[in-house]
Each structure stands twice: as C-alpha cells, then as structure tokens.
C-alpha cells in the first residue's frame, strides 16, 4: 500500500481547486450576463417580460441547486447530446446565479430614489437616457457589495457539481479520502481551501459596504 504524505494530499487538492475557481468565474460572468438580460426584462415596461423574469427568479430561488444540476444533467441529455459533467454544471450554475444576481440588482435599481426618476423625466430625458445617465450609475455603486457577497455563494455552490461528477475541489476531496482513508484531514483541508477562497471575498464585501455607507452619510 502506498503511503500518502500531507503534501501529496494538499497538492492534489490544490490542483483540483483550479477547476473550482474556473467554474466559479464562468458562473459569475455567465450568470451576470443572463442576469443583466433578466434585469432589463424585469424593470422594463413590457408586462410579458416582467412576468417571465419574475417567475424565472421565483422558480430558481424556490428549488434546490442540486435539483437544477440533476435536471440540467439529465435534461440536456434528452436532446440526444452526450452531456459532459462540466457542461451541465456550468449551464445550471449560470442559470442559478443569474436568478440571484437579477434579484439583487433589481433591489439596487429600485433603491434609487423615485425623485431621481422624476427629476430626470422633468429634464426631458427618455427611458433609456434616464437609465443610462441617472439610474444605472447610482445603482451600480450600491450593487457592488452585495454582488461581491453573492460571489461567495457561487464558490460554495460549485461544491454541488461534484455530485453530478465534475471533478473539482469537493470531488477531489472524496477521491483523495477514498485513497488515503483520512477523511478528517482531507475534508478539513478542503474546508480550509474553500475558506481561503471565500473569506477574502466576504471581507471585501463587508468593507465595501461600510465604505459605501460612509459615503452615503456624508452627502
């Protein structure tokens, strides 16, 4: 039987961490793009689009991410395509994070005071101009801390993709455990690596929030 040193375990886990990071980035960027689309549907004037965007968010926030992963994995397969785990994982995570980001950003747009809309309308601005010059710049600033905060949820969400067989940090943890029979050490290390990824983001979000509050108070 081969002996595994602590370094062997750490090295393999860190190699797998690359996939966690990559999947998180893909989900965040892809999710952000879909969320932008959803956001404009939701705050636009077309009733049908508002309806679709609203229920999209309700649906994805009201069902477990794990179920969405399973449905993506087996559902994409129904179209006769052979679905690799990474594709189903990326697809489901993008749709899932889009729902949450759209809802966060909607809150930010709506928190821009009503007077701002009225003021810009009284200056003869159209809807697009109001959005472009008045609402979006203010909403963007408010949106940064909760968006960074949500990226933590995305990193943690990628752990679930191990269940449909995508080999990232969690799956590597399971594989290494099965080889070394040291679950306590391995899962402890896995947790520490996740912590090292997420904690700076959490702190960053908190600090940004505090800075933003100070900026608001000084107005």
């Amino acid at each position: 039987m081969t002996e595994f040193s602590l370094w062997d375990i750490v090295r393999n886990l860190l190699l797998a961490t690359r996939w966690t990071v990559l999947l998180s980035l893909v989900s965040f960027i892809g999710g952000g793009l879909v969320a932008t689309l959803l956001l404009f549907m939701r705050i636009g004037r077309r009733r049908v689009f508002q309806f679709i965007a609203k229920y999209y968010v309700e649906l994805f926030q009201g069902t477990p991410l794990l179920m969405q992963l399973f449905l993506a994995f087996f559902g994409l397969g129904l179209f006769g395509v052979d679905v690799p785990a990474w594709l189903a994982a990326g697809f489901a995570l993008i749709l899932w994070s889009a729902a949450f980001l759209a809802e966060i950003w909607r809150g930010c747009v709506q928190s821009v005071a009503k007077g701002q809309w009225e003021a810009s309308a009284s200056l003869g601005m159209g809807y697009v101009q109001q959005m472009r010059y008045v609402v979006i710049p203010q909403a963007l600033k408010i949106a940064v801390p909760p968006t960074v905060g949500f990226s933590v949820q995305i990193v943690k969400g990628t752990a679930l993709t191990s269940i449909i067989g995508f080999v990232e940090l969690s799956k590597a943890g399971t594989i290494v455990t099965n080889a070394t029979f040291q679950p306590f050490t391995v899962y402890g290390l896995v947790a520490l690596i996740y912590f090292a990824l997420c904690w700076p983001l959490s702190k960053c979000s908190q600090i940004l929030e505090r800075k933003l509050n100070v900026a608001h108070r000084s107005h």
Partner: protein, 223 residues
C-alpha cells in the same frame, strides 16, 4: 427530440416520495427551531455577551459562512468518526443543518440587535429589569420582529440546501428521487417531480413562517 416522457411508474413509487418529503420536513423543522435558538445565543454573545467568548463564536460563524454545506456535512459524517464521534445519517444531517443555520441566523439576528436604540437598554434598566429581562423583552423580541423576513429567507435557503444530505444516504426527498431513478431509469421525470415538490414546499414554508411571524409579533404595524 425523440424522448417520450413516462410517468407511469408514479403509481407504484409515490409512497417513496411521501416518505422522503416527511424526512425533509422533519429535518427542516428540527433544524429551524434549534438552529435559530443557537443563532440567538451566538448573536447575544457577539453583541452583548462576555468578551472572552466572542472570538470563538466569531470564528465559528465565519468558518461556517465561508465553506460549502456539503463539506460541513462530509466533515461531520465522515471526518468526526475518526475522533470517536459516530452518528447516524439523520443525526449528522440534523447537526449539520443546525450548525449551518446557527451561523447564518447569528449574523441576521445580530444585525437586528445592533439596530436597537441605546435608549431602549437604559429604559429597560430604569424599569428595574435585570440584564436578562431587558435582553429578553426589550431587545430580542423587537430585534427578531425587525429581521423576521431575512430569517424566513434563510430558513428556506437551508431547507433547499438540505437536498444535499442525500449524499450521506439520509433518506430525504432527493434520496427518494435518486432511489426511484435507479429503479425506473426515468431520471429526468423523477428529478422533475421532486423539484416541483421542493418548490411547493418552499412556498408553503414561506407562508408558514410569515404566519408564525404574525403570531409571535402581533403588535406589528401592518403596512
């Protein structure tokens, strides 16, 4: 798309879903009550409790909030036995959910406590209330009232997250779906139905918590 959907297995297998649903409900019921209690205790420590207790509680909250639930579950179920702590699947699932919700609700409740005006503490003291009575009647109840909507959302998130406990073979709703798909090879249909059940459960849970909030905080000004 040539796939033909087939739900005929449902006639035979629906009791499996019911059994799984009951386990999921049991998990979230215990998890919510004990988890929020733990959250209240931790929030008290972090905002008003003894100074020496604060660093460990902060560490606990930060550690749980920044690691995936799946890993917490694996650590408890697979990792702890090497320290001699052995648990059944359900006990491990319950413990993981309590620990998880405890950390999240701690942060939510702490925000509520910190929003309590200073004068309220002084008012409590001037009515000859003990610090505990002040906390219980003057600080805690209005704080919970303030953050009840956020707490409601968090409980629902934890309920949805509980689908992961199927991975340590706790026989919840997701486990039922896994079991059925392995027997019938109707994976998409099985997961579709369990997803629908989760959605209904999430909506129902929200209604229950909103109603509970109205019962616990009857003074709440209706907006």
């Amino acid at each position: 798309m040539k796939y033909v959907f087939d739900y005929s297995w449902l006639a035979q297998y629906w009791p499996v879903f019911v059994k799984g649903l009951l386990i999921t409900i049991q998990l979230i019921a215990i998890g919510a009550v004990v988890g929020i209690a733990l959250g209240i205790a931790c929030a008290w420590v972090r905002s008003l409790g003894p100074k020496w207790l604060r660093p460990p509680v902060t560490a606990y909250v930060e550690l749980i909030r920044n690691t995936p639930f799946l890993i917490q579950l694996f650590f408890i179920f697979f990792g702890l036995p090497s320290l001699g702590v052995q648990m059944s699947e359900l006990q491990a699932a319950n413990l993981a959910m309590i620990i998880n919700l405890g950390a999240y609700s701690c942060e939510i409740i702490r925000a509520g406590i910190q929003a309590t005006p200073r004068g309220q503490f002084e008012a409590g003291a001037s009515l000859a209330m003990s610090p505990f009575e002040t906390f219980r009647h003057v600080v805690l109840v209005p704080s919970l009232e303030r953050i009840w909507p956020a707490l409601t959302s968090q409980v629902i998130i934890v309920m949805l997250g509980s689908s992961v406990v199927s991975q340590i073979a706790a026989e919840d709703l997701t486990f039922a779906a896994n079991f059925i798909q392995s027997r019938t090879f109707r994976a998409f249909e099985a997961y579709f139905i369990s997803t629908a059940i989760y959605l209904v459960l999430a909506i129902a849970l929200r209604q229950i918590l909103v109603l509970t909030g109205k019962l616990i905080f009857p003074r709440r000004v209706r907006q």
